[in-house]
């Protein structure tokens, strides 16, 4: 009889501890503060599960189709939007942090992310942008969509404007004896071709496009930040600012770190105490970025050079 009692008692104890551990792990009953753990929420009705703050990283230049699709590392707008949508759908996520470390990107890419963030705001989720080293031009465009912006005092931001750059290889071709014959359907079809200079008329057209894209940038800041046009135009001349200068001019709402941004977002979302952090990132993203960084860069072929010189509107810090 005695022999049977000990195993039964041990089994009961083990099953109880197994159930307790599963309950703790599945319902987030552990609070992590200053590197210490405690089960202070074990007997409280409301678990931490509802107090989620999601983090989405926006790193590097933002373009549709990165320079190498294999190593895009989840930085294309499609990937960023996918991550934002995942958090948008989750009921347990009350606030989202956009951790931005980007000099900007193409106009359309940046606008797609901006629209997604505005849609999240409409669903009464708090969005706070946290700026890293750089959040300039398109990086700032994206941040402007957030409810609030937190920047480090030394963050590089601003550079509000549009840029379009075209190479002109006319002299080079002349030197090496290459002449390009162009057959086109309309007189503007080869506007911006690297084989010749722009005409005055073409320059006017391109300037019009730039002005319109600039106007869209200004409007995006006006809508996102609830600012009047006069104020936006006072700093939207392409110049860069440090985080502190941007704070003085009202481009950002608070100076602080990523952790400050998390706590700020939690406070705005009405989360009491330490929030639960949910990081949305693509698997292998960091690894692929690392590989991309250590890959040797090869001299560009003419085709690649052409590809890089294609006409594109950018909200980017040069």
């Amino acid at each position: 009889m005695k022999n049977k009692v000990i195993p039964v008692v041990l089994v009961v104890l083990f099953v109880l501890s197994l159930i307790s551990a599963m309950y703790i792990v599945l319902n987030n009953r552990i609070v992590k503060t200053d590197g210490r753990l405690s089960l202070s929420r074990l007997f409280k009705k409301k678990s931490l599960k509802q107090n989620g703050v999601g983090i989405v990283y926006i790193l590097g230049p933002i373009y549709h189709g990165s320079k190498s699709p294999l190593f895009s590392g989840g930085r294309s707008p499609d990937h960023i939007i996918k991550r934002l949508r995942r958090l948008r759908k989750r009921k347990d996520i009350k606030a989202i942090i956009l951790r931005i470390n980007s000099p900007g990107g193409s106009v359309a890419s940046v606008q797609e992310i901006y629209q997604e963030i505005m849609a999240i705001r409409k669903e009464k989720k708090i969005v706070v942008a946290s700026m890293g080293d750089v959040a300039a031009s398109g990086g700032y465009y994206v941040a402007a969509a957030a409810d609030k912006i937190v920047a480090n005092p030394g963050t590089l931001t601003g550079s509000i404007g549009v840029i379009m750059e075209m190479g002109n290889f006319q002299e080079l071709f002349k030197k090496i004896g290459v002449k390009l014959e162009v057959i086109k359907s309309g007189k503007y079809k080869d506007s911006g071709s690297p084989h010749r200079s722009l005409t005055q008329e073409e320059r006017k057209i391109f300037q019009g496009v730039i002005n319109d894209a600039y106007d869209q940038f200004v409007r995006a800041i006006m809508d996102g930040r609830n600012m009047d046009k006069k104020k936006v135009l006072s700093f939207a001349n392409g110049r860069i600012f440090t985080g502190r200068q941007a704070f003085e001019r009202g481009l950002v709402d608070k100076l602080g770190t990523k952790q400050d941004a998390i706590m700020f977002a939690a406070k705005l979302a009405g989360i009491e105490g330490e929030p639960r952090i949910v990081e949305e990132s693509e698997p292998w993203a960091h690894f692929l970025t690392f590989i991309e960084n250590i890959m040797p860069s090869f001299p560009l072929s003419y085709r690649e050079l052409r590809e890089q010189n294609r006409i594109r509107l950018d909200y980017i810090l040069e």
Binding site: I6, L26, L39
Partner: protein
């Protein structure tokens, strides 16, 4: 109940239990021990690190670790059996498979230990690390006792056998590399 009794007896009186079940098939208790050991590793690690998981996430991790655990179970048994046979021991590989599985049973204690550590608000990672080392030594001792009795060899030899994957795997890899190099250089 027989399986649980067997696991408990194996932890408390390993010598007597090994002698009594040497020739019996105890694959079920060995499998139960291994499965719960794997679950204990996952749950205790989550409790100690303060990580939260969804049911599906926890399930996927458990299944993944179970596959690795089963692979390690079979590999370790094969290595030890091979080593024991070469070293002059005489025993059945199926019995050894049972004992290697049963030897993992102290790992089950990681769950109550992790709960106690977090409840008492100790420095969790250090205390848990020390406890894990103690349990690992306990598992090795149980395995050594089982091998020693199963193959009728000395405790020192069974110690060398338990540690065999640690030196045999690097040696095997080195052997393969040397063989490839020799083929490449000689051809």
């Amino acid at each position: 109940m027989y399986s649980i009794e067997l696991i408990v007896n194996f932890i408390i009186h390993p010598r007597i239990t090994v002698d009594s079940i040497k020739d019996k098939s105890t694959l079920l208790p060995a499998s139960i021990s291994l499965v719960f050991s794997m679950i204990s590793i996952i749950l205790s690690a989550h409790v100690i690190s303060g990580t939260t998981r969804s049911v599906s996430g926890l399930l996927i991790t458990t299944v993944f670790l179970l596959i690795i655990g089963c692979g390690a179970w079979i590999t370790l048994t094969s290595f030890i059996h091979l080593g024991a046979e070469i070293g002059g021991g005489n025993g059945r590989v199926t019995s050894l498979l049972n004992f290697t599985g049963l030897s993992t049973s102290p790992i089950i204690l990681l769950i109550p230990i992790s709960l106690i550590i977090v409840f008492l608000d100790f420095r969790p990672s250090i205390i848990f690390f020390i406890c894990s080392i103690v349990i690992l030594i306990w598992v090795c001792i149980l395995l050594m006792l089982s091998i020693s009795q199963l193959y009728s060899i000395s405790m020192f030899r069974s110690f060398l056998l338990v540690m065999s994957p640690l030196y045999l795997i690097p040696l095997t890899v080195a052997g393969i590399i040397i063989a490839i190099l020799m083929i490449v250089l000689l051809l």
